[in-house]
């Protein structure tokens, strides 16, 4: 027992150093930089950076745009997720469709969506023929000054995430029975879900919602591709200042990062305040007792649009990647031409793959260590805040500080720094994905093994891990997808020396060759999907193998 306690303590310290310390160091150095002090440069502490930041041209509109796109996208996604999750709940295999949809990195989806929505995109080309357009229409997409394209992109990514967490929250309940009770009271099925069942799931959705909110308010790659540019959202403005040659501009950049942090905290506080109002309104509506009518087509149409638009965006990427000349208003390109595929720097794919494998392996090992330590100590490790912190804080609020902190500590920008930075975001998802199945392991198996004299290591190696092969693979696929999607966690700690598909795709999105950008975007989209496919296929294949061996014996 004492050994187990020591191990738990050691693990907590290790996690604190691995996950907590970098976030704390990065956030601390960002705060100091906001006040005018930078490592190596020094400087006097003052609030001048905030004054300078808030005097930037268009900064007020940047703040407003950030609020509009971040809060707007999350509210729309939440509103869509309620009926959609109700529609999905009875459908087997829904999660199998959602997970790959969720796995498509933001940058890839944004690129595909930009191609689709642009005045010369597929939608406009479809309309051009009947409407007789010879030049593209003058609609301001993507990059519209109201952030509409960015909101669409964010919603498409957030809805699958919210659906997955809703389904996960509903999993332990007997939804069919609850539905039957609700319907016997005369409610339409949609109302039973939205007014009776979903509100009971909501407490489990709060944290994922706050993570979604924070992400939407601080998203970088998608905002660079789909968002407004003049002025841009706050986080793009911060990135521009960080990348400027004048090092003094890091002070207002860091100040803006703190402003962003304050904005996120304010929005979350507002949200918590609004929850009470909405809840009492909901109770009032339930008491009013209107039963509603069934609208069977609506949710299906919404689901088709939600899944169809990303698929169309990816199809557009695929087509552009092999397109020859493709002038407006032709619906199809000349070609096919494989010229751009010949220009791909395959080492970028290798780097993305390599980083993903290393980070995922580290995250899996850590997650298994945490869960096993909890089993042995028979108590939870209480590391919730540590895990959630990197997901709740805006990345730009601590990654720049972390990069300069790494440099001072002797870890130069490069693959090592990127691996560590990515681990901060990959580990929480891997742990969350693995924790449920791990804790759901039938204790009878474990007791039986222990009864036969197996030590804890043998139980872990021979019983737990083999039984958990599928969840382990699924967690690995999620971790890999999170790694492949990282943009800022590569750009800043990698200092441009580490090129991955996400950074290349974003860079090429501001180049003249849409076809090459499409090639990288497509590769970026496909890589995590291959990870998910492997997670589905490998355990089946191994199970068949094992059965084969058993038959022979």
């Amino acid at each position: 027992m004492g050994g187990a306690h020591r191990a738990v303590t050691g693990l907590r310290v290790a996690l604190l150093l691995l996950i907590g310390a970098p976030v704390g160091l990065g956030a601390g150095l960002t705060a100091l930089a906001a006040l005018g002090w930078q490592p190596g440069l020094g400087g006097d502490l003052s609030l001048a950076g905030f004054a300078q930041a808030l005097a930037l041209p268009g900064i007020g509109r940047s703040l407003w745009l950030t609020l509009l796109t971040g809060l707007g996208a999350t509210l729309i996604a939440l509103a869509l997720s309620v009926p959609l999750s109700g529609w999905l709940i009875g459908r087997a295999g829904a999660a199998r469709v959602l997970a790959p949809l969720l796995a498509v990195p933001h940058a890839a989806l944004a690129l595909g969506l930009a191609f689709l929505l642009a005045p010369s995109g597929w939608i406009a080309r479809l309309l051009a023929m009947p409407l007789g357009w010879s030049v593209p229409p003058a609609w301001p997409l993507p990059g519209d000054p109201w952030g509409g394209a960015l909101i669409v992109g964010l919603v498409l990514k957030e809805v699958p995430f919210l659906l997955l967490v809703t389904l996960a929250a509903a999993a332990p309940r007997d939804i069919a029975a609850e539905m039957a009770v609700g319907r016997s009271l005369g409610y339409a099925p949609g109302r039973v879900w939205a007014r009776l069942i979903w509100p009971q799931l909501y407490p489990a959705l709060r944290l994922p919602l706050f993570i979604t909110l924070s992400f939407a308010l601080s998203v970088v790659d998608m905002a660079l591709i789909l968002g407004p540019s003049h002025p841009p959202t706050l986080v793009v403005q911060i990135l521009r200042l960080l990348m400027a040659p004048d090092l003094a501009l890091r002070v207002p950049a860091s100040a803006l990062a703190l402003v962003l942090l304050g904005l996120i905290a304010g929005v979350v506080a507002l949200w918590i305040g609004a929850e009470r109002g909405v809840a009492s309104l909901g109770r009032h509506m339930v008491r009013a007792g209107r039963r509603g009518r069934a609208w069977p087509g609506c949710a299906a149409a919404g689901a088709a649009l939600g899944a169809g638009l990303p698929l169309l965006a990816l199809a557009g990427l695929a087509l552009w990647s092999v397109a020859g000349r493709w002038t407006f208003p032709q619906l199809w390109p000349e070609g096919p031409s494989l010229a751009r595929w010949g220009r791909v720097d395959w080492s970028v794919l290798g780097t993305t793959l390599g980083l993903g494998v290393v980070v995922t392996a580290l995250a899996l090992a850590l997650a298994v260590a945490v869960l096993e330590a909890e089993d042995r100590a028979r108590r939870p490790l209480r590391i919730g805040a540590l895990i959630v912190l990197p997901l709740l804080l805006p990345q730009i609020g601590f990654l720049q500080g972390l990069t300069s902190g790494f440099l001072v500590l002797g870890l130069p920008p490069g693959p090592g720094a990127v691996i560590w930075a990515e681990l901060l975001f990959v580990f929480p998802y891997v742990l969350l994905a693995l924790a449920g199945p791990w804790r759901a392991l039938d204790p009878a198996h474990l007791r039986a093994a222990a009864g036969l004299g197996a030590g804890p290591w043998r139980v872990l190696g021979r019983i737990k891990l083999p039984l958990l092969q599928r969840p382990l693979m699924a967690a690995a696929a999620i971790g890999f997808a999170v790694s492949a999607a990282q943009y800022l966690a590569v750009l800043l700690p990698g200092a441009g020396r580490v090129a991955v598909l996400a950074t290349e795709a974003v860079t090429l999105s501001s180049g003249a060759d849409r076809r090459l950008a499409a090639v990288y975007g497509l590769l970026l989209a496909l890589l995590p999907l291959l990870g998910f496919a492997a997670a589905l296929v490998v355990p089946d294949w191994q199970a068949r193998d094992r059965r084969g061996a058993g038959d022979g014996a």
């Binding site: 521009r240 407006f328 220009r343 441009g496 860079t507």
Partner: protein, 392 residues
């Protein structure tokens, strides 16, 4: 015996001996060349250069693709701030203008090194030569030229056959073709160049632009520019409320048919983009009748570069007449050579004479005079003033 002779010969020429030391030191090094990565053909050219330098000198080039050169400057500044005086991440930077000024003023550059490069003998390094002045800032051997830049417009001659003859003429042109013209965001080098091109034409006294900017000079010289811009802006693409991020995005807009005009700092860029199937083959180059601003792109080596010798070898390779001729080939890069034709021997000249031509490729002589860039301080002020004037 032969070794002794070689040693004697080398000893007679200290510069050459130094260079052989540089070559020896460079062998086996990987040079991290931080270069804007938005142009795939430039990226391909750098990859080609790497195969050449590896075969010849055992030096490989790793291009660090930037979205903005300022990223590399920021990196070196951060290293200096952290006290990292050796082993820096950046070995070579594609640089010019304000970024060069910023690095030179902050003492972030290695040099002077250009005169020591053997191939520098093909370059006119006289005090007033284009390769000696970067945005009116004396180069003083702290950066080595590698490609020629001259501001040009491109238009789709099929959709918009008529083009303005002067910068002032763009106001009427845009009024007649609303929404069909734009310029990159002046936060980007290319967008700022558009404003400078207009400033050089519209300023009451262009000579003042060669001096560092003052408040009074800025107010006096830019007043006609802002009047012109205020008249132009409502008829720009998206009513002048959004701007393409850089010239590549604008080229994509031209290819998509969203606008009729693009601009480049490379007269051969449209021909190259046609060649790749990106721009329609009806695109042609034009410049204002009074001429257009021009400058030379350079490479510089940070003071703390980890692979300084390798970086010098790459800078020298870029000045090789064979490299410059390869670069000028429109099927490769199509950038005009920075070498002085008068200094080339017959063999080197023949390399240039043998290059292919293209309908959209203008002869250098057709592009009009090259106007001097304003002092780099003007660009910073122009960009800031534009941002303040156009902020919603």
């Amino acid at each position: 015996m032969r070794l002794l002779l070689a040693a004697l010969l080398l000893g007679a020429s200290p510069a050459l001996a130094d260079w052989s030391d540089t070559l020896a030191e460079a062998r086996g090094q990987t040079v991290y060349w931080h270069a804007w990565g938005g142009d795939p053909r430039t990226n391909d050219f750098i990859a080609w250069a790497s195969t050449q330098t590896e075969a010849r000198y055992g030096v490989t080039i790793e291009q660090v693709k930037l979205t903005d050169t300022a990223e590399a400057v920021a990196r070196v500044l951060a290293e200096q701030a952290a006290g990292q005086d050796t082993g820096g991440a950046v070995d070579l930077i594609w640089i010019n203008g304000p970024n060069f000024l910023a690095m030179k003023e902050a003492g972030l550059l290695h040099g002077p090194f250009v005169a020591d490069l053997p191939n520098a003998r093909f370059v006119d390094l006289g005090p007033d030569a284009p390769a000696s002045v970067d945005f009116t800032v004396p180069v003083e051997g702290y950066e080595s030229p590698w490609r020629l830049a001259k501001f040009v417009f491109a238009h789709d001659a099929a959709r918009a056959p008529e083009v303005p003859a002067t910068m002032a003429g763009f106001v009427d042109w845009a009024a007649a073709h609303p929404g069909r013209m734009t310029h990159p965001n002046p936060a980007n080098f290319m967008g700022a160049s558009f404003l400078k091109q207009a400033l050089v034409e519209l300023a009451p006294d262009p000579a003042v632009l060669a001096q560092p900017v003052t408040d009074a000079a800025f107010a006096a010289q830019t007043a006609p520019l802002w009047a012109w811009y205020d008249a132009l802006r409502p008829n720009l693409w998206r009513q002048g409320t959004a701007f393409p991020e850089n010239e590549s995005v604008q080229a994509q807009l031209l290819a998509d048919g969203e606008v009729d005009v693009a601009m480049f700092f490379d007269p051969a860029a449209p021909a190259a983009l046609i060649e790749q199937g990106i721009l329609p083959d009806t695109v042609r180059v034009f410049t204002p009748e009074a001429g257009s601003i021009g400058n030379i792109s350079f490479v510089a080596i940070p003071f703390n570069a980890a692979h300084r010798a390798g970086a010098e070898v790459v800078a020298d390779f870029l000045l090789d007449p064979a490299t410059q001729a390869h670069m000028q080939d429109v099927t490769v890069l199509g950038s005009y050579s920075v070498l002085d034709p008068a200094r080339l021997d017959a063999d080197a000249q023949a390399l240039f004479d043998a290059l292919p031509s293209a309908p959209a490729l203008p002869a250098l002589a057709d592009l009009g005079p090259t106007l001097p860039e304003p002092h780099a301080s003007w660009m910073t002020r122009l960009t800031a003033e534009w941002a303040a004037r156009t902020a919603p």
